[in-house]
């Protein structure tokens, strides 16, 4: 007997056929397992069987039933069916159910052997194909994992936590394919912060690596320009940096047939300006706190990698306190419903004013949730990448005050001679909390409102008694200036105060009127331990209401 070529399973209820087949295939070098019916064939089926020959008409389980079982459990085996002349329709049915071929009895042994060899070869090929596919899928998964890891570690810079005047959050959620989204933050000095956001065309490891390369070129160019220019200008402008990166990378990008869209933005706290170079990136959304409107910032430059890009144009955008800048990748706007409807820039832009007052990381979370709700899926086709930069109070300390939880707080005594000192404190704190936004006129009005509140506390809550405590705190909350007064005197009921007379017939009564017209909101409340709290909420953008006509 030849060396065993492998196992072959035959099933036929006719013992003569079993003997003939066994002899035939043993002679060809196979180990033959012979079953008397379909049920036994199924029981004796093992994974190392190379070929199966089934009689169609058998007791217990017929050929079709056995075939179906094999198809379900061993997809890479295609049995050959034996059939008597008269039941050819069953043979056709078997072919539909995944049989390799059929042969009619009485059969030609040579033909059957050739058929079995062919079935084994075909099945082996199918097995190899499946294996390659599985390996490929595994490799792809591995690549995605690698690309995602590159993205998370090399492409995404960590936003600074303690940059005075800016609150920053960023997030990236990789898609199944991984784009080359990247961002980075560079603190030029204590007053200037650079934010780079970009997107490499293409997907997978290649674009992730390209993104990493672009980022490192930025560092390289900034270093070189900075050194070369240190006598004249200590730090290069954004357009010079982008030009340098473009010059350094253009040949590689052309060779790799790729390009990079990006926005290089510099936040300059001293001038309250954001100067940026945009190279075909998604339009940055600038929310203005003062007006409640959004502007879409778009540059005129082509993406990096386009030969005709130079020179790069620098744009300047002024900002104020409470403003917000939203940088993002196309993964947000191109998220779509199952019907193919895009989320789009308009929807995104409409969301920003709604979320402008909440902390930046929560803004990103809310927007992500909104896009998930819109698209009906938690996974997007493209990476979800965004950076939120919010202009917040830069808390400098006025002398003599204490700062706690981002507030300025100071204690005074209930003496009218303190008024002047109180106004100085308020002025200093306002300038510190709102460095750019409050003009002289507005600050004078705030001084006036504070003077009126304190005068009321001294005269009415304390009945003119001096040396009682008045604590004043100034802070920033939801884009508004909050001024809080605490006293231990009699509580105050604003409803019992008489209205002012504008005809000059009475001297008093203007205090409350002034307070309510300068502040956007005034709350008087009695708290536990006999403390009264007066809170003024003032939006820096508003002017005082004018007096009503009489």
């Amino acid at each position: 007997m030849n060396a065993v070529r492998g196992k072959i399973l035959i099933a036929d209820d006719d013992p003569t056929v079993r003997i003939v087949l066994t002899k035939l295939f043993e002679k060809s070098g196979f180990e033959v397992i012979a079953a008397q019916n379909g049920k036994e064939a199924v029981e004796r089926l093992t994974s190392d069987i190379l070929a199966v020959i089934l009689d169609l008409d058998m007791p217990e389980m017929n050929g079709i039933g056995c075939l179906r079982y094999i198809q379900q459990h061993m997809e890479d085996i295609s049995p050959i069916m034996l059939t008597a002349n008269e039941d050819i329709s069953n043979a056709v049915e078997a072919m539909r159910n995944g049989a390799f071929d059929y042969i009619t009895k009485p059969f030609n042994p040579l033909k059957l052997r050739a058929l079995v060899d062919k079935a084994i070869a075909t099945d082996a090929q199918a097995r190899r194909l499946h294996q390659v596919e599985a390996e490929l899928a595994h490799a792809r998964e591995h690549e995605i994992e690698m690309a995602a890891r590159i993205q998370q570690t090399l492409l995404m810079g960590a936003p600074p936590r303690d940059f005075k005047g800016l609150e920053i959050a960023s997030a990236t959620i990789p898609s199944h394919k991984v784009d080359g989204d990247f961002y980075d933050f560079i603190a030029v000095d204590s007053k200037r912060l650079d934010v780079i956001v970009g997107d490499v065309m293409g997907k997978g490891i290649a674009s992730a690596l390209m993104g990493a390369a672009t980022k490192s070129y930025f560092m390289h160019v900034i270093h070189e320009l900075g050194c070369a220019a240190c006598h004249i200008n200590p730090y290069p402008e954004a357009d010079a940096i982008v030009s340098g990166v473009h010059a350094a990378m253009i040949h590689q990008m052309e060779a790799l047939e790729t390009f990079v869209t990006l926005c290089y933005a510099r936040f300059d706290m001293a001038s309250s300006q954001m100067r940026f170079v945009d190279c075909g990136h998604m339009r940055t959304i600038h929310y203005r706190c003062q007006t409640g409107n959004c502007t879409l910032l778009e540059g005129v430059n082509m993406p990096l990698g386009f030969p005709e890009t130079v020179p790069f144009t620098l744009h300047t955008e002024s900002f104020g306190l409470g403003d917000l800048f939203f940088f993002y990748s196309d993964g947000l706007t191109e998220a779509m419903t199952t019907e193919g409807q895009l989320f789009g820039e308009d929807r995104l832009t409409a969301l920003i004013p709604q979320y402008a007052a909440i902390p930046p990381d929560q803004i990103i979370h809310r927007i992500w949730k909104d896009i998930v709700a819109f698209s009906g899926s938690e996974t997007f086709r493209d990476d979800f990448t965004c950076v939120v930069v919010k202009i917040t109070p830069s808390l400098l300390m006025p002398s003599g005050s204490s700062e706690k939880h981002g507030e300025f707080s100071m204690k005074f005594s209930s003496d009218l001679s303190e008024l002047s000192r109180i106004r100085h404190f308020v002025r200093d704190a306002c300038i510190a909390v709102f460095p750019q936004l409050l003009n002289e006129d507005r600050i004078s009005m705030i001084e006036l409102a504070v003077t009126e509140v304190v005068t009321n506390i001294i005269r009415h809550a304390y009945g003119g008694v001096s040396d009682k405590p008045i604590e004043i705190s100034i802070g920033f909350e939801n884009n508004a200036l909050m001024i809080e007064f605490l006293d231990q005197g009699k509580s105050f009921d604003p409803d019992r105060a008489p209205p002012p007379q504008f005809d000059g017939s009475r001297e008093g009564g203007f205090g409350l009127y002034i307070i309510s017209h300068i502040a956007d909101d005034v709350v008087y409340e009695k708290r536990q331990n006999n403390t009264n709290r007066t809170r003024l909420k003032i939006y820096p953008g508003h002017g005082p209401d004018s007096a009503p006509d009489v």
Partner: protein, 111 residues
């Protein structure tokens, strides 16, 4: 509360020598003004140095104005700083008291 007064013809010009006119010094302002008013009728108050006035300060000005008006006279303001002007507009004082850019113009307006 430093104040200085001089006469220009039959007009008494009062110069307020304080940066602020608030609850702390309004009473002193009122009593000083009462002394100056006496039997005079025409007044110009030079506010050039005052950069802050609160409602008590306004009340003191209104009190002086009432006293002068009751005697058949008039009070005019000169050199009112912008921040103070805003405050006057808030309480509509600018509709009751005439204001002039210079002391001379205010004096002249009495004719």
């Amino acid at each position: 509360m430093e104040m200085f007064s001089e006469t220009d013809g039959d007009v008494v010009v009062v110069v307020v020598l304080a940066d602020e006119l608030d609850a702390d010094n309004a009473k002193r302002f009122k009593s000083k003004m009462a002394d100056i008013i006496g039997n005079n009728r025409k007044f110009v108050l030079d506010m050039g140095q005052v950069r802050f006035v609160d409602s008590s300060g306004c009340g003191a000005l209104l009190s002086a104005l009432r006293q002068i008006s009751a005697a058949g006279g008039d009070l005019k303001l000169a050199n009112v700083q912008k921040s103070v002007q805003s405050m006057f507009e808030l309480v509509r004082l600018h509709r009751i008291v005439e204001m002039f850019d210079t002391r001379e113009a205010a004096v002249k307006s009495f004719g």
